[in-house]
């Protein structure tokens, strides 16, 4: 385009000098032509600017991260003049357009129609605009460039990936093993205790403590007490992550996906969990049923890492509700002394604390003294969530 501009300026200068040297309609005609051309060209570009309107379509508009959405672009010229040079620029920060022909510049004559389709790979979770970012319109002499923006923008909701865990590592599973235990029985049974009572007719044989009965010479049954499982509280750290810019989105996604994987596991185990996250306030959301899980799952696509409250605030909030007997799972990118001290306090109140560290630097926790009862599970950049969270 610069080349054309220079050429046009040169033509104006040359014809101007020519018209200054020699009179008559020919020289004048050439000179006037040379500077009228850019004016009319610009007017033409303005015309295209106002009349050109590409039609976009994205299907589906809700996709799971890593999956492809179908994108189609329709260029129709219903005006009376051709669009000699229109080119589209696309959003590309969180998406990959696979059909590179879509990037071409197009010349659309009246009544002509182009339909270009492509798969768009959504790389990151979130609610973001997809498709044309900017339309670049050039005139027929390629001297001027006018940028316009699509009148309608399309947003897709990209949900985080959902991992199904077959089992869960012990640090996260204080009560049960999904593989070895029949979940329905486990849920119904009460935990055995060392306390015993006299055998009552009708007691299950399995309840009889044979060894103690032999010693005491009378039938003794195990005495069961109703000891509820600890509450699972998954705390999502939505403070801005402290990683390289290139992996920020990936880290954020991984934090959400880790929390979802744990929640899904427990939901499958029909055990209620409470997800705690913060924006301006600390929010607590109980997830037990499929519906409750889906609500949070949809919401997770739009969770932003701009929380004003720290994980400590979340733990404090949880402790306010029930001081003991909870299992706190903090999914975060970094740990601080403040968080550790709050976790230590939770343990002192007879709670369990597990920290899942996502894409964290090793040095992040080096200088912090972590209470021995606090379990820390690191998930590195190259590790898959399932590989880490499942029991080996």
């Amino acid at each position: 385009m610069l080349r054309n501009k220079i050429a046009m300026i040169l033509v104006i200068v040359i014809t101007g000098v020519f018209a200054s040297l020699y009179g008559g309609p020919v020289t004048r005609g050439l000179f006037y032509l040379s500077f009228i051309i850019p004016i009319v060209s610009f007017l033409y570009a303005v015309y295209v600017y106002f009349s050109f309107s590409p039609i976009q379509q994205v299907k589906p508009q809700i996709v799971v991260k890593g999956k492809k959405a179908r994108y189609s672009l329709r260029l129709v010229n219903n005006s009376i003049f051709p669009y000699t040079n229109v080119k589209m620029e696309y959003y590309s920060d969180k998406q990959d357009i696979e059909n590179k022909k879509i990037f071409n510049s197009y010349c659309v004559v009246p009544k002509e129609e182009y339909l270009v389709e492509s798969d768009i790979l959504c790389r990151n979770r979130g609610l973001y605009t997809i498709g044309i970012k900017k339309i670049i319109i050039r005139d027929f002499f390629n001297i001027f460039k006018i940028s316009s923006y699509p009148k309608v923008v399309y947003k897709v909701r990209v949900l985080p990936r959902l991992f199904n865990l077959n089992n869960i590592r012990s640090e996260l599973d204080t009560e049960m093993d999904i593989v070895k235990t029949d979940l329905s029985v486990v849920n119904k049974q009460e935990r055995p205790d060392i306390e015993m009572r006299k055998y009552i007719s009708g007691d299950n044989k399995k309840m009889i403590h044979w060894k103690a009965s032999a010693k005491k010479q009378e039938l003794l049954s195990r005495k069961y007490i109703n000891n509820p499982d600890p509450d699972m509280k998954i705390i999502l750290d939505l403070k801005p992550v402290n990683v390289e810019k290139a992996i920020t989105a990936e880290t954020e996604d991984k934090i959400i996906e880790t929390a979802l994987a744990i929640m899904k596991y427990y939901q499958r185990c029909r055990k209620r969990t409470t997800v705690v996250f913060s924006d301006e306030n600390v929010n607590q959301l109980e997830v037990g049923t499929d519906n409750e899980f889906n609500i949070f799952y949809n919401k997770s696509a739009e969770l932003e890492f701009k929380a004003q409250k720290t994980p400590s605030d979340c733990i404090i909030k949880c402790l306010e509700r029930s001081e003991s007997g909870s299992h706190f799972v903090l999914v975060t990118n970094s740990i601080s002394e403040d968080v550790i001290s709050m976790c230590t306090r939770a343990i002192e109140f007879e709670n369990y604390v597990t920290i899942v560290l996502v894409n964290s630097d090793a040095k992040n926790k080096n200088n912090i003294e972590i209470h021995q009862k606090i379990s820390v599970i690191p998930i590195n950049k190259n590790q898959e969530i399932v590989d880490v969270l499942e029991r080996k």
Partner: protein, 851 residues
Amino acid sequence: MFLKENRGERMQKNSTVKTIYSFAAVVLLTVFFQVVFCFVYNFDYETSSIVLYALICTGALSIFTYIPKIGKIFIISILLFLGVVWLISNDNFTEIFSDIFYWFIDYAMGHASGDEGNIEATKVISFILIICLFYLLQQSFFGRIACSLIVIAVCVFCGYYEYHVSRIIIDLALIYIVLVGIEISLRFNQKIKNEKKRLITISRLMPFVVAIVFIVNLIPASEEPLQWESARGIIKGVKSLYNDLTSNFNSNKNGKNGNNDKQLGFSDGIKLGGSISNNNTVAMEIKFNKPPKRNVYLMGAVSDTYSKNSWKRNNTEPTYYSNYYDNDEYSVEEYVVEYLEMYYSLMRSGLLLRTNEMLESNTIEVEYKGIDTDNLFYISRINKAIISVNNFYSEGSTLLFGNKEIDATKYKLSYSCLDQSSPLFKKYIDRNIGYNYEKNELSEYGTFPQETSDDTGNESLYYVSFMLDFLSNSFVNSPYWYDVDIGGLLQNRASKIKNVYTQLPNEIPQRVYDLAEQITAGKANDYEKLKAIESYLKNNYTYSKKPGNIPKGRDAVDYFLFESKKGYCEYYASSMAVLARCVGIPTRIAQGYLVEVSPYGSKTVYEVTESNAHAWVEGYIEGVGWIPFEPTANYSSFTDEEEKTHDSLSEDLSSKDESSSSKADSSKADDRNSSNNDTSSVQDDNTSIVDESKDDVSKSNVEGALYISLIILIVIIILIPTISYLKIIMTFKKYKKIYEGADSDKKVYMDFFAIMRLLERNKITICQGETLVEFVNRINDFEDNIQQDINDSIMIYMKLRYGGLSVTDDEQKKAQITKQRIENIMKEKLSALGYFNLSYKIAKNITARFK
């Protein structure tokens, strides 16, 4: 990936054809109206026939280009027509052509005369041949480019030789040039290789093309080269601003040393000393009733008294006279008496009836623009009869507005200026020189003459009648104007002039008197003495706007004449006035503007800038009156036989380099001399600027155009490399920033992209449908020692791209090293510029892709 495209498939054929037809209709309609216009308003056999052939030619050209089918029909029609002619004419058909051909050969050789029928037939045949040639050329894209180049070349040729070309032909040529220009743009910028698509696009753009040419037609195109009036106005404005700034700067700077630069401009009175700087403020605009033949001196003020290095006006009294009727004393303005004296001198010398040969009479309309003064500018000798100012008064020869607010600053006046270059002028002087009112009988004047009748049709009689009319109307103070004692009036005035206008301060050193005596020694009369002084100053002193300051206590004229020997017009005029007074000749200093007019053209409107401000001398010759002299070097004399250009004057006024001005002088003077040979008796000797003399107009305009072109070129020359340099630097910086800020995966992507571009430069590209694995296997002939590295790098990329796995730092390093190694190879293979270009392109592409 699913891709579906239907480019070009959905084009609707019907609409395309309609488009082409509409295009053709637009062209033909335009052409039709042009032809009608031509016939109605400018019916001329030659023009109309040329237009008609051009119409056929260009119309056919367009049809052939964009509607091939019709083109074919057109050719078939011509062939059929010729066939019919052949059938009708039977055997004579071939004879017709052979006759025309042999006539053409004879005509071209100069043996045959221009037979109208043959000429027309030759034209038709020529045009048909041209159409065929163009038709053949139109078949390919490059043929069309060639055609457009031919059309441009023909336009340049016609423009260069200033041939009269019909507007319609120009329009069609311009349409064609624009069409091909668009096609070139579509082909090379838009990369539309499909010719059909290009042509359809162009046909749809036809309204814009026609609009362009239509607008071109709306702009008036004169036969003269471009004047660049507005551009020059802008340049003048910029120059003026620059001068203002520099002069302000200099004055601020010099202010500390006690020296001040004056800006050029009119002032009532003169204060010698210091330097002057240009001032291009437009002072006034002058509109002549008819084009003036010579430079015009617009007089605004007259100074008569010299003292303390300055000139002032002390003589403000009118001239008094008596009347035979009642012997009372009446007064009359000086400019009227000047006119009267001229009348009587003409009468006495017997040249009254030849005044038309000596006087240039004209009427001017003066409009003040940037000047703010009460002085009224006029050209001596002014004729009050038709001056349009209602209320003005005189102080000696200086005219002042009585009420400027009422009279505004726009007025008309007529004048009759003595043409000193006229051969008759010398005779006029010779016959009047030495005349003394005291010695001669006053009775010869008597009273005022009666009006002269104009029955003979002699132009001079008309002048006389006109003059008398003016004079009779001027002596309105007297109850009976025909009883005015003319002789007494002129005698009293002459003695008063001799008394007042020869006074000099006592401080004038003796050597000034001695120099005056020396210069005028041997000269017979006052006029010759004045000419000698004028010539002496003109030839021995250098014009300078920065003559330096006059030492304290020194007389400015003395210092100029004997020491500095350089100065501007005020120095020259003062020196001449003083030197003349030293030998007893009455002189005065006139201040005003010198209007540089074009002697050959028809220009009647002139802009007078402050840089045109000037001072000159008027010497009094008893019996003749006040005669102007131009002692300033580089200014044309009032009586120079050889015409000098005014460029040197302009050069001086516009502070251009003196050496260049002298070169311009000589070259232009040569040109002018050659032209003077033919018209020497008519052309003015004094004038020098020739705005509308064709060649010089061109040169003057070219100067403006070149000036702008030069500025544009300089801007382009500076801007392009600067922008390019900045762009390149920014691109590399951006690339570096992106690369350094990227994680390993992204770095691998970027390295892979760079590797592929580098390989592409080696003509190793991935084929359509080829997988990367196939590609890797195929390129095993590229530089053995890094073959493995390339393989590894591509594998790393494949792992990342298709495997969905992240790369390790080592892998990234490997890809990076591979890229660097290929870069090193390219460095050796390519020239420094070539490698730089390649690096820049890669950096640019990567930046655009990975930003």
